[in-house]
Symmetry: C2
Subunit: 337 residues, 2 copies
């Protein structure tokens, strides 16, 4: 590429756009469907119902320990499909670039997207690039939408939780949120902090296969964290949630950073964790299945669904105290994902 940075011309739809598409997107993301470069991608008739989701990614900084904005955009949308029990089929990729963005940074992000697509087996099949003038954007915003296929009989929803069901968390809380936060604050902590960004669709498939009919609800606690997601599950199911504080998995370095910054890990974003609500008799099986995977190696049973406290989340402390956990109110950190 002759130019060193993004020009308005790259978003014109003319020659410069075509050069960007062939020298960058087709080069790294190539697959037979994308290669057509028509107005829409065409996909074979799917073998089930569809799941469809969209997310925009505006994280700042665009590169951070453990990942980058492209990685989030692939994993986040795959995970949203997986949380309905769907097998992710393909992604779209919509970029909004700021004039003056370094082409090297863009290429690094596209290479990262390509690696995530290969690793997760979910291709980008259609895309779009717009360029806005300097000062009207911030380097790069990414939208990924995704289509997944939902096998017959799968019905995963936050409405499905039942009284007595057990709640599992697939790993530690707050790794992504605290990584972005300390990086933005310029704080350096002892012990490595890095984002937990990763795809969860394989873990979900193992749960669905291992617990037929036993998985009620799957949610990934991203923005707003575990606290906000559990409040949504409580509200949608008309039940209460009881958590045991001592069971909540948090890395020591994340806890230390939270104490320093006065933050609660329950509200920090995660980008590679899921909450699963499963029937009580299958909870131990679910825990075993999770722990057998890389994604769920640090999984824990963290609480249960209870009657009589509809829509509320309470946490019991090791000393027997109890407190309410409300949904996130006020933005602790903009542009976390």
């Amino acid at each position: 590429m002759a130019d060193k940075c993004i020009l308005l011309d790259h978003g014109s739809g003319g020659l410069a756009s075509q050069e960007l598409i062939s020298s960058l997107f087709v080069k790294h993301l190539d697959n037979p469907t994308l290669r057509g470069l028509e107005d829409s991608a065409v996909l074979e008739r799917p073998a089930g119902r569809l799941a469809f989701t969209t997310d925009s990614y505006v994280v700042d900084p665009i590169f951070f320990p453990g990942g980058d904005i492209g990685m989030l955009a692939v994993h986040g949308t795959i995970n949203d499909l997986a949380m309905r029990g769907a097998q992710p089929l393909c992604l779209s990729l919509g970029l909004i670039l700021e004039e003056g963005m370094a082409l090297d940074d863009l290429e690094r992000i596209v290479v990262s997207i390509a690696a995530c697509c290969r690793d997760s087996g979910v291709p980008v099949v259609t895309g779009d690039t717009k360029v806005v003038p300097r000062g009207k954007g911030d380097k790069i915003f990414i939208n990924t939408s995704g289509i997944g296929v939902l096998a017959d009989g799968i019905d995963i929803s936050s409405k499905n939780a039942r009284e007595g069901d057990v709640i599992l968390l697939s790993g530690t809380m707050g790794d992504h949120g605290i990584t972005i936060m300390t990086r933005r604050a310029g704080i350096s902590m002892q012990g490595r902090l890095e984002s937990d960004t990763r795809p969860l669709h394989r873990l979900v498939q193992r749960l669905l296969e291992g617990l037929p009919g036993g998985v009620r609800t799957l949610r990934d606690p991203t923005r707003g964290g575990v606290a906000t997601t559990l409040n949504e599950i409580a509200a949608n199911s008309g039940l209460g949630v009881e958590l045991r504080e001592e069971f909540l998995p948090v890395r020591p370095q994340v806890r230390a950073a939270c104490e320093l910054l006065g933050l609660e890990p329950l509200y920090l974003a995660n980008e590679g964790k899921l909450l699963a609500v499963v029937s009580a008799d299958q909870a131990e099986t679910a825990l075993r299945i999770m722990r057998e995977t890389d994604e769920g190696a640090e999984a824990a049973i963290i609480g249960r669904m209870v009657g009589g406290k509809a829509g509320r989340v309470v946490i019991t402390t090791p000393l027997g105290g109890m407190r309410m956990v409300t949904p996130l109110h006020g933005e602790p950190l903009p542009r976390i994902c």
Copy 2:
């Protein structure tokens, strides 16, 4: 809504986000699939292959004669699906809002999106909202992705054009581009200039029904205009394109504005027009079908596909002259859509 403008908190994923979703998005865009508000929408198993497309909209100004950014976002993605011959099924809606955007403007756009969805019969089934700090965006950027269903036997592609095929344009050129351009330049013209934004999926269905097997290629000449789109058709089909200048439909007020600004209507963006390449023996039928519709009332036969000039577009003038029409090079106007 108590607040008068968008706050960072509206993008937090917490309470303020939920308030925005219920008071604005669910209120205006309501449908059974969207109402679930899960991580993904679930759709019934489709009756054919899928078309999948994505587009981001960054137009400036966000309101303009004949439309707004929300209208473009619905129509543009519907049209990208229709250009493969697909019946649009549903849309996703991803918003990136700038802190400080007037809530009234956002509501006006959501109301417009809702009206376009109702009018076109294509619902928004899943969405996402992010907020970036003041000065890191520009009021609102919208991504819409869309899924369509492709009936068996339909194969519409810019590769399919054959020598001797006839090229039709469904109406006048440049209305959208010149409207945005004069508005941004603060120029007031005699005669009404307004965007041509509109959905084309119904026109496409009538063409497919009326010309079984006769429609080779459909493309909507948006960014880069008719000139750039025809160059892509020529390149992809390995044929040449011959246009007749006197057949190209342009409104008098658009022509006048183009002369004033030194612009060529062939390169101006359209948001409610399509180019159709059809077999020569069905060209008159195609023209009649188009002219019977509102969308195609001013349709014209503008040229044909020829051998021996692979990848090139030439235009003949009324005096018998000939000139090459190259793809757009250099950006005549950023943020046109």
